[in-house]
């Protein structure tokens, strides 16, 4: 099962690279992403029915948390591939792209998918390789247009994330070393399950050092402040579908790694150590997003900073801990993964039509592109945590967890930041969406882009009004994996 | 039932009959202080009858509201009259409204006249309405506080009950707070009845007019109705002053005591009229924007009355 899931995007990527015509590439892309989605869903179902799956010499494995990540990646991946057809089609039509680049784009896109799926279904070292792979694949995607600014963004992305990932590997090696000491053999286990089972015997100081390296390392990739500095550059300079993937899922993948390591660290060091660190980084992330969102002039950077904020909230949720905190954080991962791509899709359409990323130069989107404009407005409300959208529920759970765990000051601070971000963010979005269009832009980009947005809107809205029992059960299973007694 | 009806009619007739007399009396007293002869005591009746006989000239700008305003204001003043004890505390409609209701019925009268003033489209009308509403805003807080002061002293706002309660308290009712409230209410009376130094009922000088400016466009019968309404209101306010603060002598029903009550009431009203005449004769009209000072004094006195009452009760 896992093998097929991993194979599907790789195959699709290769096929895209060797296809001749634009139509052909698009069809392959769509079929491939549907296949990935279906396989992903199949994996999710089988994990939740039969429990943990381990295959291929223990390298590939999937438990509830893996399945959860796979679900997010394959869903957003599917939506993005649908959107890409519309977006890239428009670019080709207007000569901003050529067929060669298109081929490369789709190939890299699916390899990117592969790397992110891999993150979820492998052991602690494989995880590192997979995350490094995501960096390596996404860097070329960022410089797809080879503009001056995107080269700069890609360089910063590559360097800072590589540094981060190096730290993460160092932390991983230290963890492995701790495990080797416990197993007292030359061959230490590197799969999550065996590690977790002995995690309480690890050396606490060693694990503290390891966790700091892992947290800073993967935290760089996850966009936690103050390691987030590359993020607004990369996410704003990438083509919009890529931004959607970067913000929506890649950040979650890195967060996944941190959360996994937390379950290894906390048993020996005590949860207080990990919680304090995560709350601190989380608060810093949410806080640092505030001024940049308030003063932002570029709407894609605006969205990028909002991602920093949301990663902070996830970290805080995990930090608060407890069933409420962790399930809130998990739900937040899902909700953010659905909402942020929606916003990037909208932003992408605006960028294509208005040709500028400056907030001040865009107005009246609801008039010129009614659907996109409405989605931007609703998405803007959703992403800033207004009910009845999913993000509100998960943020509320995190806040409630903070109160029930007695972290009242942190909770109040988070709420304050969230409200300030709302004020800043929504004022920008409403300025763009409302009013009369400032140019003679008329009409939507393409039905594909609208379809992708509509699909995501469903997932944005539904969890805000009704959490299906299946999803809830799933999250509870993941919480079981992650809760540290 | 029949007694009630008789009281009802009696009260109405007394109010309508005596109100112009009070006007005449004050004019007469004022003239006395100004060492002039002044108009006859019953001149107000003559004026009213004269106006009644005349035709009306109505501005062509006006609407139905201009014609309705005198009616409404007159009716509301009369309705208030049924709640104010004059000769007897056995008021047939005492339950229907208390002191606060009386104040608000006066406000209804003022409201309708002010709208009518604006209806003419004349600058004078607007000016009068504006000033009238301004003054009423100044008066209201002081008025309510002095009502509060009286009410908490006796534990009721129903006018008849206030009178009986004050009587039953005897001379102890004349506490400092009672007197303070009286002074406050007296100042309010000046404003409410449009007298110097707040308004000059005798003037038609454009800069100083308040009430007269509002009714400038009225003539003939309509003017008569308004004038009578104003007189009734003045009479009622004086009656309030007399029977809330010094209710002694008032009868408690339609019986023999009523004769004594009439005499007592007449004396009280005359004394109050005298006080008013003295005040009017010794002060000049104040500038409109000095009025807040006057009303602040009244407000402060009323507030002190409240405070004294509360302190007196101990606890």
């Amino acid at each position: 099962m896992i093998k097929y899931l991993l194979l599907a995007p790789v195959l699709t990527g290769i096929l895209c690279l060797i296809s001749k015509k634009q139509k052909q590439i698009e069809i392959i892309n769509l079929l491939g992403s549907v296949a990935t989605l279906l396989l992903g869903l199949a994996l999710v179902i089988s994990v939740f029915q039969d429990g943990v799956i381990v295959t291929w010499k223990d390298v590939l494995f999937a438990d509830a948390f893996s399945a959860y990540l796979v679900l997010i990646v394959s869903l957003v991946g599917f939506a993005t591939s649908v959107y890409s057809v519309g977006y890239m089609g428009y670019e080709i039509k207007h000569g901003a792209m050529d067929l060669k680049r298109l081929r490369l784009y789709y190939c890299l896109f699916h390899i990117f998918m592969f790397s992110m799926l891999l993150v979820g279904v492998t052991n602690i070292l494989g995880l590192w390789i997979a995350i490094e792979l995501t960096t390596l694949v996404s860097a070329p995607l960022i410089i797809l247009y080879s503009k001056k600014s995107s080269v700069e963004a890609a360089w910063k992305y590559l360097i800072i994330c590589t540094v981060g990932i190096t730290f993460a590997l160092f932390g991983t090696i230290l963890t492995y070393y701790a495990a080797v000491q416990v197993f007292d053999g030359s061959e230490g286990a590197i799969d999550w399950l065996s590690l977790v089972s002995v995690a309480d015997q690890f050396d606490p100081v060693l694990m503290k050092i390891a966790f700091i390296f892992v947290l800073i390392g993967y935290g760089t990739k996850a966009g936690l402040a103050p390691m987030h500095t590359w993020l607004p550059d990369a996410h704003s300079e990438a083509p919009s579908p890529v931004s959607a993937m970067l913000s929506g899922v890649l950040l979650n993948c890195a967060m996944y790694a941190i959360i996994r390591f937390r379950t290894l660290t906390a048993p020996s060091t005590g949860t207080e150590f990990t919680s304090n660190l995560m709350i601190a980084f989380g608060l810093l992330s949410v806080g640092i997003a505030v001024p940049f969102i308030i003063l932002q002039k570029d709407y894609k950077r605006l969205l990028a900073y909002s991602s920093v904020e949301h990663m902070g909230i996830i970290a805080i949720g995990i930090g608060f801990g407890g069933i409420l905190g962790i399930s809130g954080a998990l739900l937040h991962m899902f909700n953010h993964a659905m909402t942020k791509p929606l916003m990037f899709f909208g932003a992408g359409n605006v960028l294509l039509k208005y040709g500028t990323k400056e907030i001040d130069k865009v107005s009246g989107v609801v008039r010129s592109m009614p659907f996109t404009g409405t989605m931007l407005l609703l998405g803007g409300l959703a992403i800033t945590g207004a009910p009845p959208f999913g993000i509100f529920i998960s943020e509320f759970m995190v806040l409630a967890a903070g109160f029930s765990q007695g972290n009242i000051i942190s909770t109040v601070l988070v709420l304050l930041f969230i409200i300030m971000i709302f004020a800043g963010f929504f004022s920008h979005i409403s300025r763009m969406a409302l009013g009369t269009p400032n140019s003679d832009v008329r009409g939507e980009v393409s039905r594909w882009t609208l379809g992708a947005m509509a699909l995501l809107m469903v997932f944005v809205l539904v969890p805000g009004l009704y959490i299906p029992p299946q999803l809830y059960e799933m999250i509870m299973k993941v919480v079981e994996v992650l809760v540290v007694p | 039932m029949l007694v009630q009806f008789a009281l009802f009619i009696f009260q109405l007739l007394v109010i309508l009959a005596l109100a112009p007399l009070l006007s005449g009396l004050i004019k007469k007293l004022k003239s006395f202080f100004q060492i002039r002869k002044g108009p006859p005591l019953f001149q107000s009746y003559h004026d009213l009858f004269k106006l009644m006989r005349k035709d009306s000239v109505v501005s062509e700008n006006t609407s139905w509201l201009f014609n309705a305003a005198p009616v409404v204001s007159f009716a509301s003043v009369l309705a208030a009259g049924l709640m104010v004890p004059i000769f007897t505390t056995a008021l047939p409609f005492g339950f229907a409204g208390d002191l606060i209701a009386v104040v608000y019925l006066f406000a209804l009268a003022r409201f309708s006249i002010a709208l009518a003033a604006l209806d003419t489209g004349s600058s004078f009308g607007g000016m009068g309405a504006s000033r009238e509403m301004f003054i009423s805003s100044l008066v209201e807080p002081a008025m309510i506080l002095s009502i509060f002061a009286v009410a908490i002293n006796v534990g009721t706002t129903n006018l008849a009950s206030i009178s009986t309660e004050v009587i039953s308290q005897g001379m102890t009712a004349l506490s400092p707070s009672h007197l303070l409230a009286f002074v406050a209410f007296f100042i309010i009376t000046i404003a409410e009845t449009g007298r110097l130094p707040v308004d000059n009922p005798a003037t038609h000088l454009e800069l100083t007019m308040v009430h007269e400016a509002m009714i400038l466009e009225y003539s003939g019968k309509q003017l008569a109705v308004i004038e009578l309404g104003v007189m009734v209101k003045q009479f009622l306010v004086f009656a309030l002053l007399a029977n809330i603060f010094f209710p002694w002598g008032i009868s408690s029903g339609l019986d023999a005591g009523i004769a004594a009550s009439i005499i007592a009431f007449s004396i009280k009203i005359a004394v109050l009229g005298l006080c008013m005449a003295i005040v009017e004769s010794t002060t000049a009209k104040w500038r409109l924007f000095r009025l807040p000072d006057l009303m602040s004094i009244s407000l402060m006195l009323a507030f002190l009355a409240v405070v004294f009452t509360i302190i007196m009760r101990g606890g």
Binding site: A386, A400 | A101, G121, F289
Partner: protein, 672 residues
């Protein structure tokens, strides 16, 4: 069981209205009928439903849900009362809207408004029926968001966008406080169910209890529009279409009062004295400043919006006095205060919606909101004028209309404070009577101005000259609420009894039998005082023929108004709204801080003016001295943070390095 169907019927009728609006949105006429008739039917059902609950038992629907997100409906008498207020208002507004929306035909998407309109009313109903905190916050924000979208209906205008933004930000801030308050309570009760919140005040530490109170006050106060959180009202209400402003001002802001009653009385127990005192002070300031700013407005809808601030203040005076009595352990008196507050609440819902519809009618036929350019409308639009006049009399608290009854009750609630043992509190509460008196006098002044300048005398501009009476549906909507204003006035004795059944479960005692007898309402036995608006109305009607008979005979001739020495008088000689409020502006100059600018141009000599321009502004004190400095500070701090993102990769790496080294060193030192 029947009630369940009825309740679901209400919900689904609104939903059907919403869906039909979207489906039919291409045909303006169809969609107007479809959506507003749906909301009309739903409102009728709502009225039936609310009455059945009000005279029956608490109605509960529990929807089994998983996790934190649970939905459930629990409607007791308080909720039913609010559903009644919402339904009556929306019934009238729905009828009104059928005519009013013709204004937008061909210009805007009616379906969009119809959808939001139905959803808006539905969300308000759900707000007052929610049985759990999470659901409450969701429907509460839903209500805010929907009303935001209604406010920005005419988003082409920049001021509308500004209004929308201010509104949504303020309301979001408010929701933040509400969340905090609920979280405090939930952390003690261990559940988000409102049932578990009952009496939670007893389990909280005093500090947390005070926090819960303060956060709830700030949160709901923002929505209710108490000073200084009121700044969104004068922006949002004028920006929205008038039928929407009628609902927003008439009902939406009341939902905050609903929750204040729930939180302050039922959840926290209202047993802390200073809560009531604080609320009383806030309420007095709100009512005074609200009416003072209203007086200075000549935008009719802004004027009405400021009056909402004022009236919320008056409602809260009743509520706060009731809280003071609760803390003193005097439930009968508390019941009286609460009844006064609730009475004013329903009254305000009626006359404010009526007045907003009246304002909408003015805008409908004159296309201007500036009363300075109106005048003489009473002849062009007699019915609108009549209804607006009824609203004006009601809001000015003149007998025998409804506003008078509730203010009378409030005055008496204040008088009842003599039963308190704490002298200082008694003096304070009695002193607040002066504030209420000033408020009501200024309100009367303001409505003499509002009605007089816009409806009376001669038209000042073309706008007013060409006005026509509005369609019958609009008149019908206004007529219904006018009728309600009168009804609530003259049937006070009956209404007070109904309100007592609402307040009795909250304060613990019913006082209906003591305060109502026959056609009168009175105060509780420790204090005497009674009115009968029914009799006052009868007396007024009885006396009216008297002068009419006198006036009947004789000739009345028409002639022009005396032009003060000018050869003829025109509309240009009329008193303006600005001039009307001048004495008050001057009197309260310290609060208004008026600026005046006079620009005159002269020809040849100083004596010959060619043009003359007079401008007078008042300062928006709260915006200028409270919000703007805060916003400036936030921006300045934000700017100083920009340094972080220098663009230099070396700096970025240095941050990571610094964090790493600091954390490693703190491991060595045992810091973490």
């Amino acid at each position: 069981m029947d009630l369940t169907y009825l309740f679901l019927g209400i919900v689904f009728t609104y939903l059907i209205g919403a869906v039909l609006s979207v489906v039919l949105h291409r045909n303006d006429r169809f969609v107007t009928y479809a959506s507003f008739i749906s909301s009309f039917i739903a409102s009728v059902l709502g009225i039936i439903f609310s009455f059945s609950v009000m005279f029956g038992d608490t109605f509960v629907i529990d929807i089994p849900g998983s996790s934190i997100l649970q939905f459930g409906v629990s409607i007791d008498k308080l909720s039913a009362f609010f559903i009644m207020v919402i339904s009556i208002t929306s019934l009238a507004v729905s009828i009104y809207s059928i005519g009013y929306m013709t204004e937008y035909f061909g210009k805007k998407d009616i379906g969009y408004l119809g959808f939001l309109f139905n959803m808006f009313i539905l969300s308000m109903i759900l707000v007052v029926s929610a049985s759990n905190a999470v659901m409450f916050i969701i429907v509460w924000e839903l209500m805010s968001v929907i009303s935001y979208f209604l406010v920005i209906y005419e988003h082409e205008k920049p001021e509308t966008r500004k209004a929308g933004l201010i509104y949504i930000i303020m309301t979001h801030v408010g929701t933040g406080f509400i969340i905090l308050s609920f979280l405090i309570m939930a952390s003690a009760s261990g559940s988000f169910d409102f049932g578990s919140f009952q009496g939670i005040g007893g389990q909280l530490s005093p500090a947390l209890k005070d926090m819960a109170f303060l956060f709830a006050l700030l949160g709901f106060g923002t929505k209710a529009g108490i000073v200084p959180l009121h700044i969104w009202l004068p922006y949002a209400h004028p920006a929205a279409p008038s039928n929407v402003s009628a609902l927003m001002s008439g009902v939406m802001i009341k939902t905050a009062i609903y929750m204040m009653v729930r939180v302050f009385f039922e959840f926290l127990g209202a047993d802390v004295l200073w809560w009531g005192i604080l609320l009383l002070v806030v309420a007095c300031i709100s009512s005074l400043l609200g009416v003072m700013y209203a007086l200075m407005e000549h935008d009719i809808k802004r004027l009405l919006a400021y009056h909402s601030v004022e009236n919320i203040g008056i409602i809260l005076i009743g509520l706060s006095v009731s809280m003071i009595f609760m803390s003193a352990g005097q439930p009968e008196l508390a019941a009286f205060g609460l009844i006064a507050g609730l009475y004013h609440l329903i009254n305000h819902a009626m006359f404010k919606s009526l007045l907003f519809m009246g304002a909408g009618s003015i805008i409908f036929s004159t296309h201007t909101r500036d009363i300075e350019s109106l005048g003489g409308l009473i002849k062009k639009m007699p019915w609108t004028a009549f209804f607006f006049l009824i609203g004006s009399i009601s809001i000015s608290a003149l007998p025998p209309f409804n506003g008078f009854v509730s203010e009378w009750l409030t005055f008496h609630a204040q008088l009842l404070s003599t039963n308190l043992s704490n002298n200082l509190v008694t003096v304070l509460v009695l002193g607040s009577g002066a504030a209420l008196a000033l408020t009501s006098a200024l309100a009367a002044a303001c409505f003499v101005k509002a009605f007089g300048i816009s409806f009376l005398a001669l038209p000042r501009t073309e706008h007013a000259m060409n006005a026509k009476e509005v369609p019958k549906t609009m008149l019908a909507g206004m007529g219904i609420l006018s009728f309600m204003c009168i009804l609530l006035g003259i049937l006070a004795f009956h209404v007070a009894g109904i309100l007592d059944s609402v307040s009795a479960p909250i304060v613990g005692t019913g006082i209906a039998s003591t305060i109502t007898s026959g056609l009168t309402i009175g105060t509780v036995p420790s204090f005497a005082g009674s009115i009968s608006t029914t009799w006052i109305a009868l007396l007024l009607i009885l006396f009216m023929p008297l002068p009419i008979i006198l006036l009947r005979s004789g000739i009345t001739s028409k002639y022009e108004t005396w032009g003060c020495g000018q050869p003829f008088s025109t509309a240009r000689n009329e008193y303006t709204a600005t001039a009307f409020s001048k004495p008050i502006r001057k009197w309260l100059g310290n609060i208004y801080r008026p600026h005046r600018e006079i620009h005159a141009t002269y020809a040849n000599s100083h004596f010959f003016k060619t043009s003359f321009k007079f401008e007078s502004h008042i300062e928006e004190v709260f915006e200028q001295y409270l919000y703007e400095p805060f916003i400036e500070l936030t921006l300045a701090v934000s700017r100083s943070f920009r340094v972080i993102q220098t663009g230099s990769i070396h700096a970025y790496l240095a941050y990571i390095f610094a964090v790493l080294v600091i954390l490693l060193i703190s491991i060595i030192t045992g810091g973490i």
